[in-house]
């Protein structure tokens, strides 16, 4: 009996192994056509950010379709190579090393702030353009990150927009920051605390939550002491924001909840439940289901998705690729080689560019980021986000 089972297992094992053996020889033999420009994407298609990764991959693929239908990049087709990173930095680094060596891409899209910061030296050495899902303020520095850019305003700029809105709503308001103890969470805090002071706002509390903690009751007790009128969340995608909001309402704390880009997505807010109604979020884009928004890009997106709602994570790579391929086009037309430095210079010539409805105003990329955003209020009963401000320009 035991030997039979062993034989079966051995046979299965051999079968599995042999079915994968031919593959390594086949991989990488695909010839690259001269009329194509490859772009590599490290996408977190599995792991904690899988929802963002899958949306992002779709956004990228749809953009490639959109662009190639309109003649590609100066006549050459855009080809995307997407690989999964599981939102782990070492895996992303391995994917980067492998894809950049294999395909010699002029542009690489990364998956996280951690990855983009750590790969910076390598990007500078190899000379290519890098963008991704990160809005980290540190990356918004053309001196330190000469070959990187981001598809929207940095986190500091985003919180800055929220703070300015607060200052315009109520002078000297009491505010509290609630952020996660991660790089993502810590990013805009120092700058934002200083800005709050300049704007005359009173910061009454700052809560730092360890990643993966499940109980927020002690933090809510601190907020009950502090009684902030505006509570700004940052560094979370969903949890523990709904729990904070629920308990703070229970504790009879009268406050307006606000958050940055990632928590401002309608899909996420709907998942949070009724408690998220009235949440103020700052977004870099129009919402796909927003009324009165149109343009060639937005119309294509609405049609390609058959009216299905797509999240912010879908529009991010769309924007990254729009800007990146535009930079490539300008480089080619100027007869320049597509090195990182040339591409960045071309990117910085983008002024008053029309994003086809994805962003409501024409944009420029003088540095590493797009300096506009808009504040929306969650109207969950109607299933949409209502704009409460116009498109705000972040201060340089």
């Amino acid at each position: 009996m035991r030997t039979d089972r062993r034989k079966i297992l051995a046979g299965l094992g051999a079968g599995v192994v042999s079915s994968t053996v031919p593959a390594p020889w086949v991989r990488g033999l695909r010839a690259q056509e001269a009329s194509e420009i490859p772009v590599a994407i490290a996408s977190p298609m599995t792991g904690v950010f899988a929802f963002a990764g899958i949306e992002g991959t779709d956004g990228a693929n749809h953009f490639a379709q959109y662009l190639n239908e309109r003649g590609g990049i100066a006549g050459r087709k855009l080809r995307l190579i997407v690989e999964d990173t599981g939102y782990q930095v070492p895996q992303a680094v391995a994917v980067f090393n492998r894809l950049v060596a294999e395909y010699k891409v002029p542009l690489f899209l990364g998956d996280s702030t951690g990855f983009q910061k750590t790969i910076n030296e390598e990007v500078n050495r190899r000379g290519l353009l890098l963008a991704g899902a990160s809005f980290a303020s540190e990356i918004d520095d053309p001196q330190k990150y000469p070959l990187q850019y981001m598809p929207g305003p940095s986190y500091s700029a985003q919180v800055g927009m929220l703070l300015k809105h607060i200052a315009a709503t109520k002078k000297g308001a009491r505010i509290a920051f609630v952020h996660s103890d991660t790089e993502f969470g810590r990013d805009p805090i120092a700058q934002s605390e200083a800005l709050a002071k300049t704007l005359g706002l009173e910061q009454v509390e700052k809560i730092v939550t360890p990643p993966g903690s499940f109980d927020v009751s002690s933090e809510v007790l601190k907020l009950r002491r502090a009684r902030p009128e505006f509570t700004v969340f940052h560094g979370y995608v969903m949890a523990p924001i709904p729990e904070f909001m629920k308990q703070m309402k229970e504790a009879r704390i009268e406050t307006q909840f606000m958050g940055t880009f990632y928590s401002s997505d309608l899909g996420i807010l709907q998942k949070m439940g009724d408690v998220a109604d009235g949440y103020l979020g700052v977004n870099a884009y129009n919402y796909v289901n927003q009324e009165g928004v149109s343009g060639p890009a937005m119309d294509f997106i609405k049609k390609a998705n058959g009216g299905k709602y797509r999240t912010n994570s879908y529009l991010q790579p769309w924007t990254n690729l729009t800007l990146g391929t535009e930079a490539m086009r300008r480089c080619i037309e100027a007869g320049k080689e597509m090195t990182g430095a040339n591409l960045k210079a071309a990117l910085n010539t983008i002024k008053d560019y029309d994003m086809g409805g994805v962003i409501g105003v024409p944009i420029s990329v003088p540095g590493n980021s797009i300096g506009v955003g808009r504040i929306f209020r969650a109207n969950l009963k109607a299933g949409k986000m209502d704009p409460v401000s116009d498109w705000i320009k972040a201060e340089a």
Partner: protein
């Protein structure tokens, strides 16, 4: 009523309620260890399983909440019994380390299965606890206690009372204590020891699942929520691996200490504080507050 005392009371209440959940999960762990001497590293994943079963039944199959809870617990118990019968029974006699590693492997398998069925996205559970928070009068001020925390404490207390009754008075509970004390003797008086093993695993799984549903209702569920299992391991070490009372006291104590750390040191250091406590206990009193001292014989 000085603010400092109010702080202390409020934070203590919050910490005790969290501790109650730790204690409940700890009971699930101790029941298995007591009967079978197996350290179930996958206790956090059992919690996750219970929470996801509830989610699947209540949110996706749209059953009424109470039915979903009962069915989820039954399903969790079935899984526990299944694992005992087909995996752990075959490992009787293997070294403790091997079995421990099997539970680690099981934890991975359970996480993977949950991710395939429900993806790794975090989700919210349907609410089934009342929404009214508790305001405890304290002199001139009121101490605030969030509704979910308060109700969790009450539910855990009820379950605890049921446990104590069962283990004191019911034949099955006595059989389990007998098996825990001396397997050979239990066999010789006619106790169905393999049956006791199954019972222990089923009960442990149900308890962990119940804790998982409560924890999930507080902070949402995700495929990574099994990480709470590590805090539970600290609880049972502090309380004593084979002591139900120890799990209770240890859970409340660790929950309370974490809240105190959050109040006086800062929220970021909660987990580190827990592990420093673990190290201290292991070095000073390795068998915990109430555990039985294992005398090693050659």
């Amino acid at each position: 009523m000085s603010p400092a005392i109010l702080d202390f009371v409020e934070f203590s209440l919050a910490g005790l309620c969290v501790g109650a959940l730790y204690a409940l999960t700890g009971i699930g762990f101790v029941v298995v260890y007591k009967a079978t001497r197996i350290i179930n590293f996958a206790i956090g994943e059992f919690m996750m399983m219970g929470a996801y079963f509830f989610f699947g039944l209540a949110a996706q199959a749209a059953l009424p909440n109470w039915a979903a809870i009962v069915l989820a617990l039954i399903a969790a118990g079935t899984v526990g019994g299944f694992l005992e019968r087909f995996i752990f029974r075959r490992l009787i006699g293997e070294s403790a380390i091997s079995v421990f590693m099997v539970t680690i492997g099981l934890a991975s398998i359970m996480v993977g299965l949950v991710e395939i069925a429900w993806t790794a996205d975090p989700r919210s559970l349907p609410t089934f606890l009342p929404d009214q928070p508790f305001f405890v009068p304290l002199g001139s001020a009121e101490a605030f206690l969030a509704s979910k925390n308060g109700w969790s404490f009450i539910i855990v207390a009820a379950i605890m009372a049921a446990f104590i009754t069962v283990f004191r008075f019911w034949r099955g509970g006595i059989a389990l204590r007998a098996t825990a004390a001396d397997q050979a003797a239990a066999y010789s008086v006619g106790i169905n020891v393999p049956g006791v093993f199954s019972f222990a695993w089923i009960l442990g799984a149900i308890t962990a699942a119940a804790a998982g549903i409560l924890v999930g209702s507080i902070s949402g569920i995700s495929s990574a929520m099994g990480a709470i299992g590590l805090s539970v391991i600290v609880v049972v070490i502090v309380g004593g691996l084979d002591s139900l009372l120890g799990a209770l006291v240890g859970g409340l104590l660790i929950g309370w200490l974490e809240a105190m750390a959050s109040l006086y040191i800062g929220g970021e250091y909660k987990q580190v504080a827990t592990f420093v406590i673990l190290l201290l206990v292991l070095v000073v009193k390795p068998y915990g507050l109430f555990g039985t001292h294992d005398i090693e014989r050659l």
